[in-house]
Symmetry: C2
Subunit: 179 residues, 2 copies
């Protein structure tokens, strides 16, 4: 029914990583696929308590997620991750390690501009970050390095969740990762 | 061919956890089972770099191993762990969480006395620990709480590796966890 692979979401806070990944997890679970969602917050609780938001700590967190995702994917599980994962080199390191294990690595860039996100801004975080009140806020007071060649790019500030989901699922079907 | 379950080794340093778990991993892999071995040292590199050997840090390390083992086992993988995991309450917490997920948790106590281990003492660690040169050395200068009701107990200071392996495999077969 499906292969083991890593579906790696990356993007700014509020760009839709958690929403999209939860939708896809549910879709896959309903189909009887073996799937695990490693969401940023859950992982910070279970794997990375005590880590902060410096480059080093973010990298450590992201590499741990990558390690666990590989363990799952090489055993036939679909591992979905949804951490901001702001640094390109770190994401590419995980891609390389996956490749060495023969695991497909699908990077999904949830692309939304800071401008669009600060208009939505459900939690009021962008407002505070733009006012200089939050240090290390990705895209405002901390870097975000967008993927140069993501397998899938979804413009979450311009399209509905369903459209993005369809695009992602189509990629996976076209590449025979799911049936 | 097999269910997903956690095979949790516990015991002193040098008591045979790594040796036994590697044997069983190979045996299972040769049979085509899906299996992952989370060895103490590998996990410290990938999941727990920076943690030390205080009770709190050991617990954090062991709980992380438990979290990853659960993710694997609930997807049908045999997760073998081989960390000292000296605290009974922490092991039991992982057992409880596994049970909540419907995952069989098989605790294997690699039982060897400090006396026997300090006679073998391949790395010379017991000699140094008994001389007071190593702080937080489990069983000498740090506590080890043996399991009260382990599913399997192997006396690694009295029996050959093969005997212990047979005993463990017999338990798993008798309980229909492997065929």
């Amino acid at each position: 029914m499906h292969k083991g692979f890593i579906l790696w979401f990356t993007g700014l806070s509020g760009a839709g990583k958690s929403t999209l990944s939860a939708h896809i997890e549910k879709l896959f679970r309903d189909r009887g696929f073996r799937v695990e969602l490693l969401d940023g917050d859950e992982v910070r609780t279970h794997l990375s308590k005590g880590l902060g938001f410096s480059k080093e700590d973010r990298d450590t967190n992201v590499l741990r997620i990558g390690y666990v995702a590989r363990l799952l994917a090489r055993n036939g599980v679909i591992a979905i991750t949804a951490a901001i994962s702001p640094y390109r080199e770190t994401r590419d390191a995980i891609r390389d390690e996956a490749r060495r294990d023969g695991i497909p690595f699908i990077e999904v860039y949830a692309n939304a501009t800071v401008d669009a996100l600060s208009k939505r801004d459900v939690k009021g975080l962008y407002k505070r970050a733009l006012a200089g009140e939050i240090a290390h806020f990705t895209g405002v007071s901390d870097p975000y390095e967008p993927p140069l060649n993501p397998e899938v790019e979804v413009h979450t500030d311009q399209e509905a969740v369903e459209e993005s989901v369809v695009r992602i699922v189509k990629f996976l079907t076209d590449h025979q990762l799911i049936q």
